[in-house]
Symmetry: C2
Subunit: 431 residues, 2 copies
């Protein structure tokens, strides 16, 4: 199932696709050299927005859920990519401790954990699930949305090692974004932790990711011969906001105006008649919490109580003081009349699948990662990756190849971002 492109402004995107397809050997060589000099994340998922005139990442997740939404036919791709990631990052490991989010009622998330466990086992690892849930008294079997049984076991610390009763793992794979900070039980481990603790939201910032992405997009745009804006959303950061105390509003309003002014200029350059908008998000946020759509500076002044409350606190009750203001990219793709946002999954540097995030009740300028959204799987056309069988730009295989290119650029930016964090921070302090 391939969504129908509803935009009529297909000119610049077709140009982009044509450029990407024409430069494919150069692009793949460029990725090879970049991924040889930066440690690509073990896994990642990237939310893309396709406006017809622009295709850009809007969020890069280093602890992806949603593996259950990928096409099961591509499980072998996931397994091979995991074999490659393990060979690079922890070749000696044969026992893996998988540490998931503390959700016990989100059975879809638990299905993703079960799928991820199967991928890692497929790559030849012995995998058990170590839970951070404080009230977990002992090993607890949960049935996932897909009817699989998943055994959650309480983590146990012994000296500088973490494990389970009767299980001393060689490495720890985090599928928990550490929004609430680094738990003491995971701090200062002698075992390899993948991704590193600094990639959690207690230290990571969206704005730093997009600073790294700026560099990647510049290089890529030069290689391919395009305007980097076509693959890169404008953004600004504001570090002193307190929605509850109503302070920092002027800083936020000024940044919103800056971002919108740049977007207006670009829209004028390309003859785009849509109204520019921006998305204000918690800089350390996730899970679609703490997000609002704005079309002018006034939209962030005099916020009502409900909006302020929504913005003030995100996952794990963390207060929001830093926000990113990001150019909004219209979603011009639809699935059966509902707006659709593609999410691309990578393990190591390999694109292993994707799906569309679809929500009937939301507009094309709103965040789609929110409670109540329905997922539709993306039928990834992987058997037509070569230029000689590529038809017109906009054909599904070509569009999906281009999605994979932009997603890999975001994964590369995440590699640079995490490296730069590692130079500043040895290991984050435990919460």
């Amino acid at each position: 199932m391939v969504p129908h492109l509803t935009t009529s402004l297909t000119g610049p995107l077709q140009d982009l696709e044509r450029h990407v397809l024409d430069r494919r050997p150069e692009i793949e060589r460029w990725f090879r050299s970049r991924f040889a000099s930066h440690e690509v994340p073990f896994y990642s998922s990237v939310d893309l927005r396709n406006s017809g005139f622009k295709l850009a990442p809007v969020d890069t997740n280093l602890f992806p859920g949603g593996f259950n939404n990928l096409n099961p036919d591509f499980m072998p791709l996931c397994i091979h990519a995991a074999m490659s990631a393990i060979a690079k990052q922890c070749p000696d490991a044969q026992k893996f401790l998988l540490v998931p989010e503390n959700h016990t009622r989100n059975l879809h998330y638990l299905q993703s954990v079960a799928t991820l466990k199967r991928i890692l086992e497929g790559a030849g690892l012995e995998v058990r699930i170590g839970s951070l849930i404080p009230e977990l008294a002992g090993p607890t079997e949960i049935e996932t949305a897909g009817g699989e049984k998943l055994l959650l076991e309480p983590l146990a610390r012994r000296g500088n090692r973490v494990g389970l009763a009767g299980f001393d793992p060689c490495a720890v794979l985090l599928n928990n974004d550490l929004s609430g900070g680094v738990p003491a039980i995971l701090a200062g481990l002698e075992q390899r932790v993948v991704p590193p603790l600094i990639a959690g939201w207690s230290t990571r910032r969206k704005s730093q990711h997009f600073v790294a992405y700026d560099g990647v997009a510049e290089d890529f745009a030069e290689l391919v011969g395009i305007d980097p804006w076509l693959v890169n959303p404008v953004f600004a950061q504001c570090g002193q906001v307190d929605f509850a105390a109503k302070s920092g509003e002027e800083c936020l309003a000024a940044r919103v105006e800056e971002v919108l002014a740049q977007v207006r200029e670009k829209y004028a350059e390309y003859g785009i008649t849509e109204e520019p908008f921006a998305i204000v998000k918690a800089d350390a946020g996730t899970y679609g919490m703490g997000i609002m759509t704005v079309k002018g500076a006034d939209d962030v002044r005099n916020l009502n109580r409900k909006t302020r409350n929504k913005m003030a606190v995100i996952k794990e009750g963390q207060p929001v003081t830093e926000v990113i203001i990001q150019e909004g990219v219209y979603t011009f793709e639809d699935v059966d009349g509902a707006v659709a946002e593609p999410v691309i999954y990578m393990i190591d540097q390999f694109v292993v699948g994707g799906f569309y995030r679809v929500h009937d009740a939301r507009g094309k300028d709103e965040n789609l990662n929110a409670p109540g959204m329905a997922f539709h799987p993306l039928a990834f056309e992987t058997d037509c990756h070569s230029p000689d069988c590529a038809g017109a730009p906009g054909d599904p295989p070509n569009r999906f190849y281009t999605y994979g290119v932009v997603a890999r650029m975001a994964a590369l930016a995440a590699a640079v971002e995490v490296e730069e964090m590692a130079m500043r921070i040895e290991e984050p302090e435990p919460a």
Copy 2:
């Protein structure tokens, strides 16, 4: 379609599968460490024989054809594996010259070349076909068995580089086994040649491969806790045979007797009541030429003219003076009543597919790689690689996993074999 196992002697093989499945994390870790210290072949295919009591490689091809026989659904696996191989062996390459065999009438082989070209293009390379055919006057388009158009272009040498008119490739991918020796046009190139020229049959010997495989099988057997014979055919070599002049027969007869004596001992140990047999093959041979089945030393004495002629000369008219005498492994698998031999394909260290070689008119103790054979694709069960969804030993996913393990052992042996050749020979002399 999974062939039905016709053997009733399933005991030892089931043990082998159970051992392999139980030790999966150790096995995968072992492969990771071995493939980290040896350069795995860019691609390879391995002919396996499954006798019910034994599962062993009988031939390892470093210039595989037959990519057209793989399940097209697994094209993305091939593409990812090729991306990995390119990143390791020639990361800077973006233009690849593919040098195939000189067959112009074997349209199935040309379909394999077309499939391989699509795999490499899928991995982001620009690929053109450089032909060694002397009488090729200029670019010649041929239609393959699958109806694809393939452009063969004459190779052109400029100084220490080889290319085509208007095409200066970064690397050369050989899909030609160099049975006739190294063509002068490919000797002493400054470009990377993959696999290296020494991997061609002008220098390669099957017996050297199986010497390397002995070491791999010993290590593996110790890791898994099995008798190495269960995955390793007994062999001997005889280097002074002249079938045409009827000389060297006694050497050959003595080696045949040695091999059969060892096999008889093993059959007695395991209570196997089948009659042992051996396969005599040209040590530098290929393409199913120069192969005979023997059940005793007398079978190689007083050969009739027809057999001597068959054995005396192989592909490209090369005379046979060196032969390998290899324990015959009965084929107990059948497809619709015809004997079947699995062939497993690898790119880099990844198993990317396989198929059964099936021949109605041949016996279970004969070579199946011969003119007239019919191919049936192997339905590779790749979405059930994990022990927790593995059913009884002998279930297709388990059997195929075990096939992949034995095939990867052969690829590892080929890596060791080529390394050892490279220490002895810088580059083979041109023919």
